[in-house]
Symmetry: C2
Subunit: 450 residues, 2 copies
C-alpha cells in the first residue's frame, strides 16, 4: 500500500489501524479489514485508484455511508475501501427541467432539504436518510416508505457517470426525461451493488413538492384488521404515499426503547397522503372510514411537527430492535400486496412454532416487509436456529409470488440464497455481465454472487 | 426453409411470396425479403423457432405490428420473421395488486380499453396505439404524449419472460412493485429492439384510472409564444399529462389532409390535465391564464367526445405528413424542456436556409420532438440534401443536452449516428452484452449497432 500513497495525495489515503477498523464494517455488523482506505475527491481520483487496483489486481470496494444491512460494503476480500464521502456536492439544481446532478456522497436527507427550499421533491426516503448517500441508494436501488406511490431510486435516475474497474470512464443515460439510444447501461448499474463500476456522478429526476401532506397513525387490536386495511385502501384505488405496518413484536420493542403511546396495540399502520389540499381532504375521509370500519384507534397529524414525531417513531424501529438484538437477522422480503396478510400470519406462526421472536414491519403498501429474527450471536445455538428460518421465510415469499429483497439487495448475507430466486440461465447472464465489466473480478468481490 | 416447416405446424409458418412481402417492411418504409415468416402461438413455439435458427445460424427477427419508424423489424439480412401477433392474450388483470400479465402481441389500445372497464389505467400511449403491440412497445421503450407525467413503457415493466437466441427461456424482474435481487436484466431487455432475446410474456404495473381529464387546444400567432407556454407551465410546477406541440408546417399539412379549424395558426399546443376533479379545475384555470398571457386562442374540451376529436387531429399528423412526403425523414430527438424554444427555432432557421420544409411536432413537455424533413426519394438530390441535415439536427440536440431518440430507438436508420451519442467505452460494453446474449449474432442482426 506504500505505492498507493505515492499514487494519491496523502490526505486522500490511509492505512491507519483506526481507519481500517472504521471502514471495515457496515450496518450488517459483518467485519473485515481492508488494506487501505481512500477518499477520492473527484472522478480523476477514482480513475487513478481504479487503475492502481486494476494493475495490482487488488480488490476495490466502493462505499457510501456504510448503511447497508447486507454487508455490501464490507471488504471481505481485503483491498482498498473507496469511500465516496468527500464527493458530496450538489452540482446542479435545474428546477425548470426537474433535474438535479449530484456527486455520489451527497446525503439523501441533505438533498431533500435543499430541494425543499426550491419547492422540489425527491421521493426516495430510506429509513437511514439522514446518513445514507445517494450513491449508495443508487447502488442498491433503495426504496423507502414512499415507494408505494413514487417508486424507488431507479425510477429517478436519468444519468450516471461511472468508472470501470480498469479506470475507463463511462456515461450512461441522458439528462432528459426520455432517451432510448442503445442498451440501458444506467439501469444495469442501478442495483449492481458496486460490483460493475464506481458511480461518480448522478443525474436525477425530481418532482414539484406536493401541496400538502397528512399523516395518520392507526392502531389495531388484531393483526388481520391492519393488514386488511392495507388491501382495502388499495382496492379502493387510493394510493397513499406511505402505508407502513408494524406488528406487535415491533411495537413492544419500540415502547421499551422510546414510549410513544402505542402500548397494547396488536398492530399499527402509518398512513400518509399527499397532493392537492382538496384531494387529500377527501381521500383522508375515506381512509379514516376504512380504518374505523376495521376497528382502528386513530390519530391524525396535519402539521409538520406532529408528522415529524410520528416519523421519529417509525425511524426508531431499527435502533429499538438493534437495542434488543444487536445481531438480529434482518431480511426485506416482498410479496404482492394482497398476500401481506398471509405472509405476516405465516411469520407469526413460524415465530410461535420455533420459539424465536420475529418482529415484522415495513412498507405494507408495496408488499415489502422487514422481517427481523430476534436472535443474538452470543447464543450460538439459537442464532443458528434463527438463521435456518431465513430459507423458510424466503420460500414462503417466493411461493406467494414475491422476492427475496425489495430494497436491501443481495450483498453478502443473501448471496447464498440468490439461486432460490434467480435460476441458472439468468445467473449465467449476470455472471457474464460481471466478467464483461470487471474481467479481473476486483470490484467489490464476493458480493451478489454465491 | 423446408426443414422449418417440419419443425412447426404448417399453419404457423409460410414461405409464400405475399407473406414475405407483407412482413418485409415496417413504418420506416425500408423493405427486405425474409426467407420465411413464422407465427408462434406460445413460448414453446418461440423456443423451437429459436433453436432452429440457432442451429442453422439463420437470422431471426422478432416483430410486433411493424410500426417501427426506424426499421427495427425489417429483415435486412434475410432469415425468419418471428411475428408475435398470435400471442395476443391478456393473461391476467390483478387490480388489487395493480398488475397485469400479457402476451407480447396484445395491442396497446386493446389493453387500455380492457383496463378502463375495470377502472384501471396503463399510461404509455404511442400515436400508433390502435396498431402497435405491447411487445413492440417494450422492445423500443415506447413513450407517447402522456410520458411527461407518467413516464415511458419501461417505467411500467415489472416482469419479462423471454427466449434467448439459443432457445433457453429466461425470466427477468418480479411480479411485485419492488425487487432488487441480482442485475436488472429486465431493463436491459427493455429498449433492446429485439436484439437480445424474444420477449414472450410481459408483466406490467397499472394505475387507478384518473378521475377526470380535461383537454385544451391553444393556437398561437407566433412560434415562441407556444414554446414559452410550455416552459412556463412546467416552471409553475404544473405537470399536465400531455403537452403536445405542433409547428406551422405541421398545422398546414394537417389542414390540407383533414381540416380542423387550425388554419393560419403559427403553432398549436394540446394540453391535457388529469386527476381529481377539483385539482384539474384549479390547474386548468392557471393553465388558461398562462396560455392567454401568451396570446393564445383557446378551446376547452371537457367531454370525452370533443376530447376524442382533438386527439384524432393529433393522431392524423403522421398520416398527413406521409400524404405529402411518403418517404419523409422522421427523427425523434429530445432536448431539455427549457431548450425546446431554441431547438424549434434552430429547425425553422435550418429549413429556411436549406430550402427544405421541416415539420416539427411532438411531446414538448418532455422535450421530445418529432422532426420531419419533408423530402421524397423520387427527387434524389433533394433527398440526399435532406439526409445530410439529420447529422446537423442531432448535433444541435446533443449540444443542447439532449439525445438522438426519445422513443423510436435506433433500429437501422439511426445506427450510423449512434456514435455521436454513445462513445467507445459504452459501445464496447453494449457490444459485449450483445455477444453475451447472442454469440452467434442471429437475433435481429444489423440493428442498433453500426
Amino acid at each position: 500500500m506504500q505505492r498507493l500513497k505515492g499514487f494519491l495525495d496523502s490526505h486522500k489515503v490511509s492505512t491507519e489501524k483506526a481507519d481500517l477498523l472504521c471502514y471495515g464494517f457496515d450496518a450488517s455488523k459483518i467485519k473485515a479489514a481492508p488494506a487501505a482506505v481512500a477518499w477520492p475527491e473527484d472522478t480523476t481520483d477514482v480513475v487513478r485508484l481504479s487503475k492502481f487496483a486494476y494493475e495490482q489486481e487488488i480488490p476495490l470496494i466502493p462505499r457510501g455511508a456504510g448503511t447497508s444491512t447486507t454487508g455490501s460494503s464490507v471488504p471481505t476480500k481485503g483491498g482498498i475501501v473507496l469511500s465516496l464521502e468527500r464527493m458530496n456536492q450538489i452540482l446542479e439544481i435545474d428546477g425548470d427541467n426537474l433535474f438535479v446532478m449530484v456527486e455520489p456522497g451527497v446525503i439523501n436527507g441533505a438533498l431533500q432539504r435543499e430541494l425543499g427550499l426550491k419547492g422540489l421533491f425527491y421521493p426516495p426516503d430510506p429509513a437511514s436518510l439522514e446518513f445514507c448517500t445517494i450513491g449508495g441508494n443508487v447502488a442498491v436501488n433503495a426504496g423507502g416508505p414512499r415507494a408505494i406511490k413514487y417508486g424507488v431510486t431507479g425510477n429517478y435516475v436519468r444519468y450516471l457517470e461511472a468508472v470501470l474497474p480498469d479506470g475507463r470512464v463511462i456515461e450512461a443515460g441522458v439528462r432528459t426525461k426520455k432517451g432510448v439510444v442503445g442498451y440501458d447501461l444506467k439501469s444495469l448499474l442501478v442495483g449492481s451493488e458496486g460490483t460493475l463500476a464506481t458511480i461518480t456522478k448522478i443525474g436525477l429526476s425530481v418532482l414539484p413538492e406536493p401541496e400538502t401532506v397528512l399523516t395518520l397513525i392507526a392502531s389495531y387490536r388484531s393483526l388481520r384488521s391492519a393488514t386488511e386495511t392495507v388491501t382495502t385502501i388499495i382496492a379502493n384505488r387510493i394510493i397513499p404515499r406511505t402505508l407502513e405496518f408494524l406488528d406487535r413484536a415491533t411495537i413492544e420493542a419500540l415502547e421499551a426503547y422510546q414510549p410513544s403511546g402505542l402500548k397494547g396495540s396488536e398492530s399499527v399502520l402509518i398512513i400518509e397522503l399527499d397532493g392537492p389540499v382538496k384531494t387529500v381532504e377527501r381521500d383522508s375521509e375515506r381512509v379514516v372510514q376504512i380504518c374505523q370500519s376495521k376497528g382502528a384507534s386513530l390519530e391524525v397529524a396535519d402539521d409538520s411537527l406532529s408528522q415529524q414525531s410520528i416519523w421519529a417513531t417509525r425511524r426508531a424501529i431499527s435502533p429499538a430492535l438493534f437495542h434488543i438484538s444487536p445481531t438480529k437477522i434482518n431480511e426485506d422480503i416482498v410479496v404482492p400486496v394482497t398476500a401481506v396478510p398471509d405472509m405476516v400470519e405465516f411469520l407469526q406462526r413460524l415465530s410461535e412454532q420455533e420459539g424465536i421472536p420475529i418482529a415484522s414491519f415495513g412498507h405494507a403498501g408495496d408488499g415489502n416487509l422487514h422481517v427481523n429474527i430476534m436472535v443474538n450471536q452470543e447464543d450460538r445455538e439459537l442464532y443458528e436456529k434463527g438463521r435456518s428460518l431465513v430459507r423458510e421465510i424466503f420460500r414462503e415469499a417466493l411461493r406467494l409470488g414475491g422476492s427475496l429483497s425489495g430494497e436491501h439487495g443481495v450483498g453478502l448475507t443473501k448471496a447464498d440464497y440468490i439461486d432460490m430466486e434467480i435460476h441458472n440461465n439468468e445467473m449465467d447472464l449476470m455472471r457474464g455481465i460481471k466478467r464483461l465489466f470487471d474481467h479481473r473480478m476486483i470490484l467489490n468481490p464476493g458480493k451478489v454472487f454465491p
